[in-house]
């Protein structure tokens, strides 16, 4: 089934870019448009890794991360923040909640793949 990655971002554009970044890898990308949806999809799909934006409507990424880390079943899922928020206090606060890495937008797709590959196994798709 490959590596399951959950992309939580209110931007359809970013979710498309994330899907494109992993198109050559044996990955299943699932998506959510806000933190509330993200928690529901995480509980249902049990992804191997979550890519999480900060500024989103309905429920922001910091709230989702807080609830995720308080959930005994979901708290072990590694999270990479994928956000334009790079302010010192935000980075420190988010790091304290427990994230594995932090990637500031704009980002190169290769760097995203590299950071994900350091945390979960990524297998290139076999071309028939």
């Amino acid at each position: 089934m490959g590596t399951r990655i959950l992309s939580v971002d209110d931007s359809h554009t970013i979710r498309l870019i994330v899907s494109r970044a992993f198109r050559d890898y044996d990955c299943q990308i699932c998506e959510a448009a806000n933190g509330e949806e993200g928690l529901a999809v995480a509980a249902r799909e049990k992804p191997d890794l979550i890519l999480l934006d900060v500024t989103m409507p309905v429920m922001d990424g910091v709230t989702m991360l807080t609830l995720l880390k308080a959930d005994p079943v979901l708290k072990s899922i590694p999270v990479i923040m994928l956000t334009a928020e790079s302010g010192r206090e935000n980075v420190l606060a988010i790091a304290r909640l427990g994230v594995r890495d932090y990637l500031v937008k704009p980002f190169k797709e290769e760097l995203l793949v590299q950071k994900v590959g350091h945390i979960v196994p990524l297998q290139k798709k076999v071309v028939a």
Binding site: D10, S11, H12, T13, I14, L16, I17, R20, T55, P57, T83, A84, E85, S86, G87, R88, E89, N90, V91, L92, A95, R96, D101, Y102, L103, V104, K105, P106, F107, K108
Partner: protein
């Protein structure tokens, strides 16, 4: 084990540190009781910022000879300290915009004098995003409909003709604006002006005006690339809360 410092995290995550000069000036201005002379001294020591300050204080002047406000101190009194925030952060903002377009679109933007760029004569795309908190402000992005289609196609990796849905174009423009404004807001927070970024709004319009509250700073910027021109306007009003 103690929590890691920001610098340790920045190194771990590969984050770009905020330039010290920007931090120094923005933190100084962010103090509501900032000393004007102290700020004037820092600005006077930087010819580029001094020139930009005097240019914004004399918006109708065609050349420096036409300036009516000629000293940094007078320009600060005329423009307000909100303007200094923009002066300090103008360069990081321009760099954030250029980096965003280079990284996500493969487009090299050149910063140009907005007065030298012809305004749009027909309906165009207007992206707006605001932030609120200790500082309040707006970032506006204006570009032609064709230009918006071009950048949406670039970011999505498709041909502009394949973009049938306007929402795809609007979402791409909104996300680019979100990235640029997010970088700007992060600098505000680092200066002590904690603010929250709101969701971008993308519309079509033929009219554009900005109401600037007293004490707010406003900066107009323009950028060009092959087949593309865009205007960026930033308005920030510091100390709107506590």
């Amino acid at each position: 084990m103690p929590d890691p410092s920001y610098n340790e995290l920045a190194q771990l995550y590969g984050l770009d540190p905020v330039p010290e000069s920007v931090l120094r000036l923005t933190q100084l201005v962010a103090r509501q009781n900032a000393d004007l002379d102290e700020i004037a001294n820092i600005i006077s020591a930087d010819p580029a910022i001094s020139q930009r300050l005097l240019r914004t204080a004399n918006p109708r002047a065609a050349t420096e000879k036409d300036y009516e406000i000629t000293t940094v101190e007078d320009a600060l009194r005329h423009n307000g300290l909100g303007c200094v925030l923009l002066l300090a952060m103008g360069t990081p903002l321009s760099l954030a915009l250029m980096k965003t377009f280079k990284t996500m679109l493969g487009l090299k933007l050149d910063g140009v004098n907005p007065k030298t760029v012809r305004p749009f004569l027909s309906e165009y795309v207007l992206g707006t995003i605001n932030f609120s908190g200790k500082a309040t402000g707006w970032v506006y992005l204006r570009l032609s409909i064709e230009g918006a289609r071009l950048i949406a196609a670039r970011v999505l990796g498709v041909d502009p003709e394949e973009l049938k849905d306007r929402s795809e174009v609007d979402d791409a423009v909104g996300e680019l604006l979100n990235i640029v404004a997010g970088n700007f807001k992060s600098h505000l927070c680092d200066a002590g002006l904690d603010s929250t970024l709101h969701t971008p709004i993308v519309t079509r319009t033929t009219r554009f005006t900005i109401d600037t509250p007293q004490g707010a700073g406003l900066e107009h910027m323009a950028f060009t690339a092959p087949d593309l021109k865009l205007f960026v306007d930033v308005m920030v009003n510091p100390w709107t809360q506590g």
